[in-house]
Symmetry: C2
Subunit: 384 residues, 2 copies
């Protein structure tokens, strides 16, 4: 029986995790939830799973939550609450579905406490890769990725061990602008960018799929997760989103993981690993694949992925700048304060303006994050 | 250091095994060879690898071999020699590249003696599946398939354990007649049938690829190798021969193994497993895949695969009839004594005429083989 804490329970990953949990009441027990502002939903989830530990944003939302009348639920607040929930003694597994840099400290807490961390939050590894690996080692925690690409690599690597890896290929759908002329893309509206061709996800990650900054972050994640050099990580466009990623081994053999674009599959796998549990997500044989094809990435049109390699080359806090600057720029884009093309420009400028700190502490990373946000907002103010 | 015996050293698999061995002199030492009639080649191989144990067909070929002047080479003869070579105390690994039913007894000998059996010979498992599994268990031998499809399944299964398997898909190129009208195929000449679109192999297996009897035999092999029910094994046409097979797990996740159609890769893997050794068989990223697609098999045009399921349903010696009848019919076809279409007819008739023996001994299987051959040749004589 896995005893699971779900961080970000009311988000897309959180809700799907609870859907999986509901399907396997004999294998999964939900012991903790965290939520931001969707109080009625987290109240419903708390009731459904009989959860006793809930973390909310602040006293105001906690008050709202208490109105649903949970007498035996312990409510904790904010980032400290998240870290305490992530290291809860009743839990052995933490699903981190938090959005953005908020995901770092709870990830460290979970690994330090020896939990299995099922990680959907990209920023934890991108911003704090070295810290995450150190916490995992210290606490003997386990790290299983949920991101479909990294889940695919994780599964492929089981067929060969990491020593025999030649290179890995992260697949990218190419997002909604794959076939748009570059000029039109640069001035695309959020409503266009939010139309992802194959996946249904949260807003921030959907915009990241349109800019391919999601792939940039994934390159950095793959580097830390699997101990790969930047040269071993390639990005390839695969418009069908069926092949979730590939590993080429030293002997010329390539392993691929395939499946319908449905996050419940990697979520369930992160919980069931090394077992596989029967799931009802449809029978999906090769005949349903259609034609699978792979195209080179247009790095000139999508300069985001090259920035990942640049950030890895700069090292230290540079990947944190990439993640924070992107998060900030996406927010401004969704508020229609900047154009689609300015996301690339602003993130690139922030990265180049940054002086990386070599072996950063959590505080250094959070400082870097603030610096990157301030850099971006200053630039936008100046240009207004 | 693997100490390797190569059975069928002068055949296609044998030569490629020795090519791999030559590339890894620090990892592989060849300690035994067997050959049929190509004496000058086996003499050259014996010299190149400094081999001390050689098995030849009969006294006549042995005499021819001795003329090359090997004073310190022990020469054994025939099937007894093959079995002694397969259990040679200096060896820990046996590559079985024998053609046809000759492969069964040496396979049993290798597994009984606790060797790693790298199996390219299909007939051993098809004809004597139960015996092979029993010998493996008794002798604590190890069985690693070389067939590209089964090597693919073997690798895919590492990502999930056999308990979580929903079904497997054996891919078939479809052979040279995939796009021929059925009528033309039924009267196709050997010269057409020997033109395989993607693989370069021996004659018998190339004809089997044209009839899809190779896929029929592979269904039976997969059943025994991986403990799969016939219902869990599907055949799918994949004209590019890039995806060598796929495994669908219970959770909806599918693993595939891909690579260029080059037998040296699965041969090397069978020797290196669980390691992966750097090999020079070309860099082959997703961009080289082109379009990958999968089509249903036309069971009406190619009735061979259905016969495999029928043979498994009949059980006992029925799969041996399928293999032996096919081997015999292919021989007659290559001698242009029967038409391409008659291969299907004759094998089907032999299968239906057979009374299976339930838990056969080696002698039962060999008796069945003789019966099937006699059945086929009698039919052909009658019809002449």
């Amino acid at each position: 029986m896995r005893k699971v804490v779900v961080l970000g329970a009311t988000g897309s990953i959180g809700c799907q995790t609870l859907e999986v949990a509901a399907r396997f009441p004999d294998k999964i027990r939900v012991v903790g939830l965290s939520a931001g502002s969707n109080i009625s939903l987290v109240a419903e989830q708390t009731r459904q799973f009989g959860v006793r530990n809930v973390v909310l944003k602040d006293e105001k939302t906690a008050e709202e939550f208490r109105r649903f009348g949970f007498l035996d639920v312990e409510v904790l607040l904010g980032i400290d609450g998240l870290c305490r929930l992530a290291s809860l003694s009743e839990a052995d597994t933490v699903v981190n579905g938090l959005v953005g840099s908020l995901g770092l400290r709870p990830s460290l807490a979970a690994l330090e406490a020896g939990k299995r961390l099922c990680l959907a939050n990209k920023e934890a590894l991108v911003m704090g890769g070295q810290l995450v690996l150190a916490a995992k080692k210290r606490g003997k925690g386990e790290l299983v990725p949920i991101d479909s690409e990294h889940s695919a690599l994780f599964q492929c690597l089981l067929a060969g061990g990491s020593r025999g890896v030649r290179r890995v290929f992260l697949t990218a759908s190419g997002g909604p602008f794959l076939n748009w002329p570059k000029d039109e893309m640069l001035s695309a509206k959020p409503s266009d960018a939010l139309k992802h061709p194959t996946w249904t996800m949260g807003k921030k990650i959907t915009i990241d799929s349109a800019t391919l900054f999601n792939k940039a972050l994934e390159v950095i994640e793959a580097h830390f997760l699997f101990g790969l050099t930047p040269e071993q990580i390639e990005v390839v466009v695969h418009p069908q989103s069926i092949v979730h990623s590939l590993v080429e081994f030293a002997d010329g053999s390539t392993m691929a993981q395939l499946g319908p674009p449905d996050m419940r599959i990697p979520i369930q796998y992160a919980l069931s690993y090394p077992e596989r549990w029967e799931s009802p997500y449809g029978t999906f044989g090769p005949m349903s694949f259609g034609n699978l094809n792979f195209l080179p990435l247009d790095n000139e049109k999508f300069p985001s992925v090259k920035m990942a390699y640049r950030a890895l080359q700069m090292g230290g806090t540079a990947p944190a700048v990439l993640a924070a600057a992107d998060e900030c720029a996406v927010g401004l884009y969704l508020e229609e304060k900047i154009s689609f093309g300015e996301i690339f420009e602003l993130v690139g400028e922030a990265l180049e303006a940054h002086q990386p700190i070599e072996s950063p502490t959590v505080e250094d990373i959070e400082g870097t994050e603030r610096w990157a946000r301030a850099f971006i907002t200053d630039r936008v103010k100046v240009s207004v």
